[in-house]
Amino acid sequence: MSALHIFDIAGSGMKAQNLRLNLVASNIANANSVSSSLGQVYKSRQPVFAAELNNLLDKNKAAGVDVLGVVESQAPPVMEYAPNHPMADELGYIYKPNVNTVEEMANMMSASRAYENSVEVLNTAKNLMLQTLKMGQ
């Protein structure tokens, strides 16, 4: 039954938004993780979304969301001069992640709204399918 395709699509949306929420949680949790070198410092992680290509090529088919991967932000980490810090390097600098907590909070709200949207779509489709199954009774 092709109707179940709606469930796949809404499910792919929920999966993608769930990953996004996870990454936001990881970014916010690590916002204050200090490091003593540029290479080791935590970098903000962001998901890359794309429409499912196979279904997009056939223009009459609906396409779900595909997560192509997770990228680390290229923004420079914050250097802070704190010679008394136990993690300070030989020049007295510590390195803080390039996580922008305000941005992440906005990201989180957007992701949770989109997730709720998918849940609503799923519920509506489920109700319609149940009614269809009960047809003629």
């Binding site: 092709s2 109707a3 395709h5 709606i6 699509i9 809404a10 792919s12 949306g13 993608a16 938004q17 996004r20 979304f49 794309a50 429409a51 223009k59 009459n60 609906a62 396409a63 779900g64 969301v65 957007s110 992701a111 709204r113 989109a114 949207n117 998918s118 609503e120 779509v121 509506t124 489709a125 319609l128 009614q131 269809t132 047809m135 003629g136």
Partner: protein, 130 residues
Amino acid sequence: MAINFERALGIHPNALILREKRGELLAANLANADTPDYKARDLDFKSVLAQKMASQSGLKTSHQGHLASPTTLLGADVKYRNPNQASLDGNTVEEHIEQAKYAENAVQYQASLRFIEGKFSGLMTALRGE
């Protein structure tokens, strides 16, 4: 004389299939609300209906009140939506509009279901002959 179900149910089963297809497209739009460069899509009934009526394929329509034959509706075109306010990342999904359309489509789906149920109960009444 055998009962012809196709004739008894009329256009409604096809309408149901179309509503389902449209539901899928709208669900995909909502799921891709945050996908860069995704373009919102929808079914365009009106133009397909007009086009089919003009081409006179299938049943003939000689009056503006006539409907096109049911099977021709299934070739409905998928078109891209014109956004009121496109976002910078090339995404043209406007969630509030898609939500409204999805709700509208769900109600229309239910209406088609009710019509079919009505047809069936009519058939049952005829069969029982009470």
